[in-house]
Each structure stands twice: as C-alpha cells, then as structure tokens.
Symmetry: C2
Subunit: 242 residues, 2 copies
Amino acid sequence: MVKEHNKKAIILLSGGLDSTTVMAMAKHDGYDLYAMSFDYGQRHLYELEAAKSIARAYKVKTHLLVKTDLTGIGGSALTDAISVPKDRDMDGGGDEIPVTYVPARNTIFLSYALAWSEVLNAPDIFMGVNAIDYSGYPDCRPEYIHAFEQMANLATKATVEGAFKIRIHTPLIQMTKAEIIRNGLELGVDYGLTHSCYDPDSLGNACGRCDSCLLRKKGFAEAGVDDPTQYTQPGSRGPGFP
Amino acid sequence: MVKEHNKKAIILLSGGLDSTTVMAMAKHDGYDLYAMSFDYGQRHLYELEAAKSIARAYKVKTHLLVKTDLTGIGGSALTDAISVPKDRDMDGGGDEIPVTYVPARNTIFLSYALAWSEVLNAPDIFMGVNAIDYSGYPDCRPEYIHAFEQMANLATKATVEGAFKIRIHTPLIQMTKAEIIRNGLELGVDYGLTHSCYDPDSLGNACGRCDSCLLRKKGFAEAGVDDPTQYTQPGSRGPGFP
C-alpha cells in the first residue's frame, strides 16, 4: 500500500480488544497513529497499562493520556462504589442499559479527540464502538456517531474555516465480536496485550463474568480461536472471593 | 413566581459577566441552581475564584469544579505560552478567530454538563454564549448549539429511554453586551463579582486590553452604566510592564 503523505489518525485507545483492532486497521490503511487514552477514575485502571503497551507495540507518534475526573459526576459502576454486574445474559445485547454505563462518556472522549484533531490538523478520528455484541450503551449506536460528526463540523475553527471535515471512523460498528477478532488476527493483533475486564483482581486477571468478559469469551468461542486472556481462578483472590 | 417542584438548572459558570447574567436569569425563572466550572489549565485562574464567589452569592445547590488538563492538547493562547492579543478592533466581531480560541472547549464543557444532567435528572443546561459581541469562536453560534442538542438527545441513557429531552438554553446568544448588562442589572447582578480578563496581573486586576476586557468595557459604555472592574493602572505591574 502506498502511504499518503501526512495521513494522521487519532485513535481512541482504551486498551481493550475493540480499540486495539481499530488501531491495527488504521495502521493497515497507512495512517500515522496518534493514540488518546483517558484516566477518568475508572476502577479498571489495568486497561491504561494495556493501552500503553499497545501504543508502544504499534509505534504511535504520540500517546496522549488525558486525566480527568468523572467520579465527581458519578452515576456509574465503573467510577463509583457500585458493584459491577456479573453473569448477565449477553445474547439479548442492547435490551437494557446496565449500571456500567458511564454518563456521556463517549461524548466526552470524542470532544477531546475533536480538540486534538484541530491541533494536529488530523480530521480522521477512529473509535472501536460496536452496536452488535455490546452492552446497549446509547453512545455506541450509528445514529449517535453521525450526530456527533454533524455537530463536530460546526464546532471548531478548522472545520468552520474549511481546513477539513471531521470524519469519525467506526469500522467495527456492525461487526460481531467474532468478526472483530477474525479481522484483528488477520492484521496480526496480539490479543494477549489487550484488557477487557471491568472488574479485574489485584493481579490484573480478568473476572470472566462481567459483560465485557462475557462478550470477549463469546467472541473467541464463536471465532473458534483460543482466548489468550488470563482469567481469575476460583479461590485465587483469597478467602471470601468467588 | 410560583416555583415548580424540582426544577433544576445546570449552569456553565466561568465567573465572567455572561455566565453570571445567565445564572441570574435561571434563578429568576425559578430553577434550583447547579453550577459547573472548569479548571482546564487556563492562565486566567482568577475566573475560578470569581465563579466560587458567584456560586456562593446565588446559593447554588452544588458547585462542581471539574479538573481537566487541556494544556496537553494545546493550541490556544489561554492554555499555552502564547501571548494574549491586545487592543484588537472588536467592532467587526467574528471576522477572524483569534489565538485565544481553545479547540473544542465548549464541546468539552457541554459534554460534562450532559453527563451531570443525566446523573442529576436535570434536562436544562444554561450557557452564556453570545454571537454578537464576541470573538468569533465557532462554538458560540446558534447552529452549533442546535447541533449539540440534537447529538445530546441521542447520546445518553436518560434521553434514549425517554426520561427527558436535553435543552441547551442560551438566553444571551443574540444580545449585545450592553443588553446583557442591562438585563443583568435589572435582575440585581453585582458585576463587581465577575471576572472577564484573559490576562490579569498578579493582583487579579484586568488588563483592559484583551478581547474580553474590550468587549466588557464597550458593553458598560453602551449601556451607560459604570464598569465596576478593577483595571491595571499603567506602571502598577512594575518596570517593564505597560
């Protein structure tokens, strides 16, 4: 593939399976990679360590870590002292929005990406949202992404002065988790680097029972490939833990 | 005025003249007030002290200060080591977007307000943007605000589940600065509490020469009322300062 001059992609990189696959896709498409991750007070900070390893592995030009505190706003099991639900039925994906939903999280993340896109002069923003094997979060749906893009093109100096039009790329949005994994493996993604669990143990092992773990396991099973994830062994968290 | 039960307003409060006037308007309309301010690495941190005093004066239910660092993203004279322009001609307002523009700032602020609105169950968000006597920032225009509202109503659990529709109130958007001041004075606003300057001296006195000071001075002059602002006196910053 011939690489276009100065083709920059901003990747919202959580350190999970989806955003890492998107990173591999943007790289394959010849973009220079600019990764952006958020420390927002999430209880699963292990994902940021994963994001750092992945950013290094993909030789990104910059990995910008934005620190912002969503715990003051609250309203989510991912930032507050609310239990992460376990063993939910993930086949009906999207029927009910669970307590792991973080209010307006993707809008906040995309807003920062919009600011960075203007400073970098980089109209292409990539995001690993998915509206098939997902938890039913409203800000993962195509109509939401489209509306954000419309708004973004009225919001900034670069877009208003005609320097460029923002494009939000969501290549996974209509894929099953199994399709995402198959695509990623073809592009050489090492899923052992990625972290999906909302509620890892103190060693960083995945719980295997939150929505995110269940969707990941289902994906690997349906793709017919081995899941490299380290899951907590029963008893390994010590007495009193499942 | 009869106060509706549980009518909550989120006010984006910078500590400046506009957002304070909006606060007075929301109070007059019978809302319980929830103020939100941002410490984003701005050089004019005095505005946050003003915001705190104003929040106290208006007896807000909560004043949420969100700390987030936009200096990592950069691209603005308000967060970076770039000089704030002085003595610009403010009569052609909007012809050129100056370096004090902070990339995607209003989108970032509104995104946090959207998150908080969901947690508080408060669909009414008030913001003091103005598209008449302003610096030409794209994210102060009615078409931008409208697009944000459209997006917001697809973004969150509360809006998607039909609990409420987000309304972004921008009562000042088509007013001149003089009209804003006259409205505020009628509602009893003490403009001595407010802070507008982008580049105050070490005592917090306004420079009198940045866009924000020039628009403020022009507003008070056109309204025909005294400006209570403390401006820097020539020589008061010490040798070498204007």
